[in-house]
């Protein structure tokens, strides 16, 4: 067990190193290398000269990589070409935006897991019925839907036509709520992006849950439990669902990368001031240091979550240990 975790940890570190190297070389070796990137930036000549000097372009490539690595590890992500939220230090900007994204993603993930579980269990129970086919094809359609398009539909319906929810942002502009009022306002803004994200993720969870449940319900220990006289509900809650959670954990971990992609689109549409919207802003202004920083942070986050899930996996499924 410990060896497995250690191996995984080592592999995660190697992957992160890959990402760093990729991040470094991509911005230097590719057709648009640092010089042209800096030359293209819409900043004053003085700033450009300083950026050039900071990039250390007169040094050999390996030394540059060393400097880059040292800077990253000491938390120096460089300076942005523009100001965001009144700061131009990339790390400060990202740290300011990260909580919003994390809150939104956690809530959406919770919605998706609970609903996906329910749909999956219902489908497996009523397999072959009209309800099953309906729910299943519904999740298939949700799966082939572009995230941002679904968000556009929701905004059009709930914000423009019915005016139930605000069209975007994280708080009502012009207000300065404190305490409970602030939380209420924040939640009111979060409901729609959260539901949107959650609904889009249901499909994957529901389909996985359905097929695992169908497999589990034919296992011998379920028959044994039935023979013992347990009610169907008891068997479902205490025998079937806990065992079905194991493959779910894998899917959740695998899904993290896709979720981040969805978050970028959703945050942009709902002007939710998180990491995704920051990436979109940086992309439109071709603000490479910010783009680089966001890419680094999101990749490390995905790798970390995968590592953590993998470690937990060993605990929830004792079979993995052997």
């Amino acid at each position: 067990m410990a060896i497995r975790t250690l191996k995984r940890f080592f592999f995660s570190c190697v992957t992160i190193f890959f990402v760093i190297a990729f991040n470094f070389f991509l911005f230097r070796v590719m057709p648009g290398n640092v010089e042209t990137i800096i030359a293209k930036a819409n900043t004053s000549e003085a700033v450009k000269a300083r950026l050039l000097a900071e990039a250390g372009l007169d040094q050999p490539l390996l030394t540059q990589f060393g400097i880059y690595l040292k800077n990253l590890l000491t938390g120096d992500f460089g300076e942005a070409f523009y100001n965001y939220d009144g700061s131009s230090d990339v790390l400060t900007i990202i740290a300011g935006r990260l909580p919003n994204t994390v809150i939104l993603l956690l809530c959406a993930e919770a919605v998706a897991i609970v609903l996906g579980l329910l749909v999956g269990v219902i489908c497996a129970q009523k397999r072959g019925s009209k309800l099953d086919t309906g729910l299943l094809s519904g999740s298939l359609v949700m799966y082939s839907m572009p995230t941002f398009w679904f968000a556009m539909l929701l905004i059009f319906l709930f914000c423009v036509t019915f005016r139930i929810f605000p069209t975007g942002g994280i708080t009502t502009p012009g207000t300065n709520y404190q305490g409970w009022m602030h939380i209420q306002d924040y939640l009111h803004h979060m409901i729609l992006p959260m539901i949107c994200m959650g609904l889009l993720m249901i499909g994957v969870y529901a389909v996985t849950m359905r097929s695992t449940m169908m497999n589990i319900l034919t296992e011998d220990y379920i028959n044994t439990a039935r023979a013992k006289g347990f009610s169907a509900k008891y068997i479902l809650l205490h025998h079937a669902i806990p065992n079905a959670m194991v493959p779910m954990a894998t899917i959740i971990a695998l899904n993290i990368a896709a979720i981040l992609g969805g978050a970028i689109q959703l945050e942009t549409l709902f002007s939710w001031q998180g990491l995704g919207q920051l990436m979109y802003e940086a992309l439109n202004r071709r603000d490479y240091p910010v783009l680089q920083g966001c890419f680094f942070v999101s990749t490390v986050a995905v790798i970390l979550v995968n590592f953590i899930m993998d470690t937990i996996y060993g605990f929830i499924d004792p079979r993995v240990k052997s």
């Binding site: 992957t15 969805g262 689109q265 490479y288 890419f295």
Partner: protein, 302 residues
């Protein structure tokens, strides 16, 4: 002389058999309800992409001359209404089909070639090559694809070929894994061992003996990848990374979003391209699942 005749005969028989197999395949596709729906959906959009722009009475360059031609709802003249510049939405849609399908298909070809090559090489050669290639594959599997594509596309620039390259380079990992697993089982077959003992080279065995045997899998996988490639293209174009010279459905949605089609209530402008994307993605998914059933009959027994 006789030898030649024999050879000719076997060649002819082989071709005949191949023809029969192909015909059989198409018959089975048509008999499968899911596949039939998928084929009809995709056929419709392919025809639309090829002939649509030729038949359309409006061009995407027909810009309105007066203000009251802007954001018109669907009418007898403009079946799907007009956009913020008074352009015909249907014409835009039909033109968008071309680049959306083109990008999706070509990017899939790149992904498939990469995934198949890497999968077969890793599976057949094994040892450290397998280890290295699989670590790279894992790396691409965990990489958050959208930020990755955004960074790549931003650096390479917004040309249609760069978009294709970016999507192709990020979509091969899952295929490589599947092909590797299949290669591992094909490799153990006796005829591979026999070919090895005659002294056939690695490349020869991989291309002539393993590839044909994993090909059905590659084919059904490819069809599933097309839909995700089209979805990726749509997302990238929506984020402003599309090629402005060949607008796709994603570019159209980006235009609709940035010109405020949602707030003025011009539903015909932003709902239609999204519906097209969904129908195409759904069509390919249905076809992919059905082909998988037909080409990999082991699945049927399960």
């Amino acid at each position: 002389m006789l030898n030649r005749v024999q050879k000719y005969e076997t060649e002819r028989l082989k071709k005949e058999l191949q023809k029969m197999k192909t015909r059989q395949f198409f018959r089975e596709v048509w008999a499968n309800k899911m596949a039939r729906v998928g084929v009809i959906m995709i056929g419709f959009f392919v025809l639309m992409a090829i002939f649509g722009p030729i038949i359309m009475p409006f061009k995407t360059t027909d810009i309105a001359s007066s203000r009251d031609m802007v954001f018109n709802p669907p009418s007898a003249e403009h079946w799907l209404g007009t956009d913020n510049q008074g352009r015909d939405v249907l014409a835009y849609l039909v033109n968008g089909a071309r680049s959306s399908l083109f990008v999706g298909l070509v990017a899939t070809v790149i992904s498939m070639v990469l995934g198949t090559l890497i999968g077969i090489t890793a599976g057949y050669i094994g040892s450290w090559v397998d280890n290295l290639l699989m670590r790279i594959t894992d790396f691409f599997l965990v990489l958050p694809w959208l930020p990755f594509c955004m960074v790549l596309a931003a650096i390479l620039g917004n040309s249609i070929w760069n978009i294709i390259l970016v999507i192709g380079l990020t979509g091969w990992a899952s295929t490589a894994r599947i092909i590797r697993a299949q290669t591992l089982s094909v490799k153990e077959q006796q005829y591979v061992e026999r070919t090895q003992s005659i002294g056939a080279g690695r490349w020869h065995i991989m291309m002539k003996h393993i590839l044909p045997n994993v090909f059905p899998l590659v084919f059904s996988e490819a069809i599933l990848i097309v839909s995700s490639s089209i979805l990726t293209e749509t997302s990238l174009a929506f984020l402003g990374l599309g090629d402005p010279t060949s607008p796709s459905w994603g570019t159209m949605l980006n235009d609709a979003y940035s010109t405020g089609a949602m707030t003025v209530g011009a539903w015909w402008y932003f709902i239609t391209p999204g519906l097209c994307v969904i129908l195409v993605a759904l069509g390919f998914t249905l076809m992919g699942y059905a082909f998988d059933e037909i080409l990999n009959p082991k699945l049927k027994e399960r």
